[in-house]
Assembly symmetry: C2
Homo-oligomer: 232 residues x 2
DNA sequence: TAGATTGTTAATCGATTAACAATC
DNA sequence: TAGATTGTTAATCGATTAACAATC
C-alpha cells in the first residue's frame, strides 16, 4: 500500500496525453539550457515544443506549481522536475533483443544513453552476429536472455527482432519479471495485465501520411477502380 | 474545388484516431488472409488488432457499410477497401535522407516495400557512404536531393539524418514541393501550413515507459532527493 | 424462422482551448 | 504600482463504449 503523507498531497494520475508530451518539453528545455537561457515563459516554451501555450500550462500544472507568475519558468528547475516525474533521475538498465540494422541504430542512439537509460545488454539469435562489438558492448546469444535480465537488473526490454520471433521473446522477457517492453516488431504482442507494451511502427506512420497525401492529390480515394474480387 | 457527385454522398472527414488505426486493421486482416480465412466478425478482428469491437465497428462505419449483418466482414473485400481508403492501391515513391543504421533499417524494412511504397532514393551527405549498395539501390549524395525528388516523382520523404541536419533537409524538401514528411530526427521541425509532418521518436517512447515503470517500483517520483540547483 | 452480427445511437469520458483571476 | 505571466476555470470538442434496433 502506498501511503500519502500530508507533505505530498498532490493527487496521482497525470493524464496519458500529458505524460506523452513531457519528453517533448524536456527536449525543448534542454535546447534552451544549452543556449544558457535561464528563464522561459509558457508562450516561448510552447513554441519551442510545438504546442499551444494553454496546453503547456495545463500539462505543467499536473506536476505542481513550478512557475512564477509574471516571470515564467526557471529552465534548470523545470528540467529537474520533469526529469524526476518521468523517472529519469534514476538509471534504467535496458536490453535490446535483435541486433539487425534497427537494433544497431537503437544501441548507438545518443538519446537512449544520455538521459536515464543505459544499454546493459545486446542479444541476437544469429551466431554470425553474436560476439560483435557494438556501442561498447559485445552481442550475446538470445539464450542468455533470462540470465542477462537477472544479473544486470534489466527493467526495460526493447524488441527489435523479426515479427516471427517477437512474441516468443516477449513471453520469455515477461517470465523473467520484466513489465516494460518497447516493441519495434510489426505484430500485436499479447501480454498479461500489468505489463506495459509501447509500440513503434515504422510502416503505420507511412500509411497515415499516404492517407493525407492522397487527399491532397485526389481529394480522396480513387473512385474509378472497381473491386475485382468476389464477395461471399 | 472538389465536387461531390450524388454517387459519393459519404461525408468526408474520417477522424484522425480512426485513420491511425486503419493500418492496424489492415495488418490483422492480412494475417487472416494468409491463413485463408474468408470471413471475420468484428469481435474476432478486434481481438486480432488489439482493440475493442465497438470501436472497430465504429471505425469501419466511417468508411462505409462493408460488412454483412449476421455474417461479418469478407476479409479480401475489407482489405481492398481499407487499402483504397489509405491510398495504398497506388504507388508512392519515397526517398530516405540519411543512410546511417536507421536509414538502412528503413530501406530494408519489408513493410515499406510490400504495400504501396517504393523506396525511390537513398541520400546521404557522407562521401564514404555515397555509392554503397543498399536494398538494391545506390546511395546518392544529398546534393542530388532536389533532382531525385523531381525526376522520380517522390511524394514522401523520410528524414533519418542527425538532428542538426534535419531542418535544413526539411526546408529543401519542402522547397521541392514535397508536403508529406516522416521525421526520425529528434527535433521539432518548423514547416509552413499544408505540410504534414509525422514524427517517430525512439527516446520519447522509452521515457513514457520509464514513467510507468517508476510508478510500479516506487509508487511515484523519488521524493527524498532535494533540488540542488538555485531558483532565481 | 431463429440466431448472429452489423451499423448506429446516445451516454460517458477525457483532452483541448480560451479566458481571466491570482499574483509575482 | 503597473505590467507580465502563471495556474485554473469552464466551455467545447472529439473519442470511446455499451447497448440495441436493423437485418442478414
Amino acid at each position: 500500500m502506498i501511503r500519502r503523507t500530508p507533505q505530498q498531497p498532490r493527487e496521482r494520475g497525470i493524464p496519458d496525453a500529458t505524460v506523452a508530451r513531457l519528453p517533448l518539453y524536456l527536449r525543448a528545455l534542454n535546447g534552451l539550457a544549452e543556449r544558457a537561457v535561464a528563464t522561459v515563459s509558457s508562450e516561448d516554451l510552447a513554441v519551442a515544443a510545438g504546442v499551444n501555450s494553454a496546453k503547456l500550462r495545463k500539462d505543467l500544472s499536473h506536476l505542481g506549481s513550478y512557475g512564477t507568475r509574471g516571470v515564467g519558468y526557471d529552465v534548470q528547475y523545470l528540467i529537474y522536475q520533469i526529469s524526476r516525474e518521468l523517472g529519469l533521475t534514476q538509471d534504467w538498465a535496458v536490453a535490446i533483443v535483435g541486433v539487425g540494422n534497427l537494433g544497431r541504430a537503437l544501441a548507438n542512439y545518443g538519446g537512449f544513453v544520455s538521459r536515464g537509460f543505459r544499454v546493459a545488454g545486446l542479444l541476437d539469435a544469429d551466431p554470425e552476429v553474436v560476439g560483435d562489438h557494438i556501442a561498447g558492448l559485445v552481442v550475446e546469444h538470445s539464450d542468455e536472455l533470462e540470465s542477462v535480465i537477472a544479473k544486470r537488473g534489466v527493467s526495460i526490454v526493447v524488441i527489435a527482432t523479426p515479427a516471427t520471433a517477437a512474441q516468443a521473446v516477449c513471453d520469455r522477457v515477461i517470465a523473467s519479471g520484466v513489465t516494460s517492453i518497447l516493441n519495434f516488431a510489426p505484430v500485436v504482442l499479447t501480454v498479461p495485465a500489468g505489463v506495459d507494451v509501447r509500440k513503434v511502427d515504422l510502416s503505420i506512420e507511412l500509411q497515415i501520411l499516404a492517407f493525407h497525401e492522397q487527399r491532397k492529390v485526389n481529394g480522396g480515394p480513387v473512385m474509378g477502380e472497381e473491386w475485382a474480387g468476389e464477395v461471399s
